[in-house]
């Protein structure tokens, strides 16, 4: 697997996007904490103090096991938390604009406009009774001034751009007539239809076979780069992050464990969890498959220790003294007292 074939027009930003540094990040999530239930009857805290910055034109991978809170983070960014969940504290800024507390109307304009998302299982995320082209055209109409004809033409153009042969005819088809790979291309067309600044791709290749997954990922990276947009790629596979993203954030149990440039993060993990994840995905030379012992903790209330302490091979008594802070270390941020 080689890094994306796309011409790297945008060089990776130097080190961590410092607050107040040259370019303000497109997406800036700070101390985001989300809970289920009301303040009086808190049932769980699935996200705790999330920090995440994506600079303009940057490709950021959000890596973690299932249940680590990756998708919930995306949902919070879009302002589409599931029923019963609420943001307890923190801020989410898109192009400098605070999204927490923004009006539903404003959020709706931003969704699909400045930020867009494509989900896993593309065939389920397109409406079965509307034509594929019609759905794309509607998103275009919602966010712009294009009329019916114009938006349809744009939709066809987008489908063609995403490599769907015979786009003018396929636009009139329904999703059940599309293969999984084609449907994901259509979903990408829909997500990019209004030239968002940020594309969130939530496990976009789940359910596709390996070669197809590779093709789709490359297409996503390439088309996002062509538009000078940023990409937040959510994946459980750190190898995918390594071959497609400049920077990586590793999440575990609703917390950020480590984030920094992908190359140095995977080459020299500072957090034992990152190291374990790398080993589990076989990117470190080994004979036997590696599995992280133990299970992901349930998130009933705020923990007062490192969430990984129970499973960590290097855990010591100091790991139980409060939640490790996400601190700056060399070219990245790490939440581990041992690092």
């Amino acid at each position: 697997m080689s890094p994306a074939a796309a011409p790297d027009a945008t060089a990776p930003p130097a080190v961590d996007a410092q607050p107040g540094a040259a370019a303000a990040p497109v997406l800036d999530v700070a101390d985001l904490t989300v809970g289920f239930g009301s303040a009086a009857k808190r049932r769980s805290i699935p996200l705790q103090g999330i920090h995440l910055q994506v600079a303009a034109g940057e490709r950021m991978a959000l890596v973690g096991e299932s249940g680590s809170g990756k998708s919930l983070t995306a949902a919070a960014v879009l302002g589409l938390l599931p029923e019963g969940a609420e943001v307890i504290r923190g801020s989410i800024r898109l192009d400098g604009e605070e999204l927490i507390g923004a009006s539903e109307r404003r959020l709706r304009a931003l969704r699909g406009g400045s930020m867009a998302i494509m989900f896993q299982n593309p065939r389920a995320s397109l409406n079965p009774v509307l034509t594929v082209g019609g759905q794309i055209a509607e998103v275009i109409r919602v966010h712009g001034s294009a009329g019916r004809k114009e938006s349809w033409a744009q939709a066809v153009e987008l489908l063609a751009e995403m490599g769907i042969p015979n786009a003018a005819r396929r636009a009139k088809d329904y999703v059940h007539q599309f293969s999984g790979g084609m449907a994901q291309r259509a979903a990408l067309a829909m997500a990019l239809s209004c030239r968002p600044d940020l594309l969130i791709a939530d496990e976009p290749t789940t359910g596709l076979d390996a070669t197809l997954a590779q093709q789709v990922l490359e297409l996503v990276v390439e088309r996002v780069a062509m538009r000078d947009a940023s990409l937040l790629l959510i994946t459980h596979d750190i190898a995918v992050a390594r071959s497609h993203c400049e920077r990586t954030t590793v999440m575990y149990a609703g917390r950020v464990m480590e984030s920094g440039p992908t190359a140095s993060l995977t080459g020299d993990p500072k957090n034992p969890y990152t190291a374990a994840l790398l080993k589990a995905f076989g990117t470190v030379d080994q004979r036997r498959m590696y599995a992280i012992g133990g299970v992901v903790p349930t998130l009933l209330g705020e923990l007062a220790e490192c969430a990984f302490a129970d499973r960590c091979p290097q855990a010591g008594p100091e790991c139980r003294d409060g939640v490790p802070e996400l601190r700056r270390l060399e070219d990245r941020r790490v939440a581990c007292v041992k690092a």
Binding site: A75, L78, G79, L80, E86, V87, R89, S103, E104
Partner: protein, 337 residues
Amino acid sequence: MSISLPSAPGAATPTGESHPVGGARPLRALVAIATLAILLVALFWAPEWRSLRAVLTVLAVLVVPTVWDSAARTVRASVAAMLGLILLALIGPLFTRDPLMLDVGASLTGPSGDLWFGTDQFGRDIFARVIHGAQLDLGVGFSAAALAVLVGMPLGALSVFASAHLRGGGLFDSVLLRVSESFQAFPTLLLALGIVAAVGPSIPILIFIISIVNVPVYLRLTRSAVAPIVNADFVLAARCAGQPVLKILLRHILPNVRQVVLAQFSVNVAWAIQILAALSFVGLGVPVPTPEWGAMVRDGYEQLVYGRWWVALFPGLAILLTVLTLNQLSDRVRHIA
């Protein structure tokens, strides 16, 4: 984590559940407003005493179930309500007058402090008859539903199992399915009417007929619940371990459909009661002096032209509340399934 609904705008403020039992209060307010509106319209339309009475009737029909509905919202409450009804049917009759006692002198008197629900055309105490009727209606309902379960459920499980694991089972399954589909095409009541008319009414026959028309329901229900399980690995494992078919059925499959069937059972008791009442209403149900709710409504129907509302109102309300309780119970059970 799936995104299902947008949280309220301004998610930073605690939005959670500001109405833990939300909706109950506005609902009650709405009922009150609606009552007032009906009352005013009725008085305006026909400012007489009897229009007031009409309003009270509507209220009885609307408000009682509404209150009942909002009271029995949990499994425990609806089970309690059901047990209460059964208890009433069992020991209630001990405390009432004789439901068959004729008193022509006191015929068709309206409800009073002495005779709570009034008397019918033969002067029989309607309250006593409603209470005694509970025994018959619930008894027939339960037995008919039980019979339908006992026949339909094993048949349904067997037919799926046969089609999956036995030679020639596919044919058995599809024949059974077609026959039960044909049954579904029949209007339940007309079919029951036809059979009763042919065979003649009596309580065992009524139970039999009501259960016949319900058997296909269980057959299909069990079939659809069992189908995904029957090919599951654990059933295959049991078969490979050489366990006999019947034992697999009983040990592995039936416990898996218990909840669904329980929910359906409750609905079916309700349904059986409705069919029994309907048959009696058209004169094909229980023999004449027996207190049965549908038959009592029929008596009331004949008194309707004279405006004697109480004869039909109370037994009908009894049917409504019993059926509502059973349906409510079924809903709750299904929700925890």
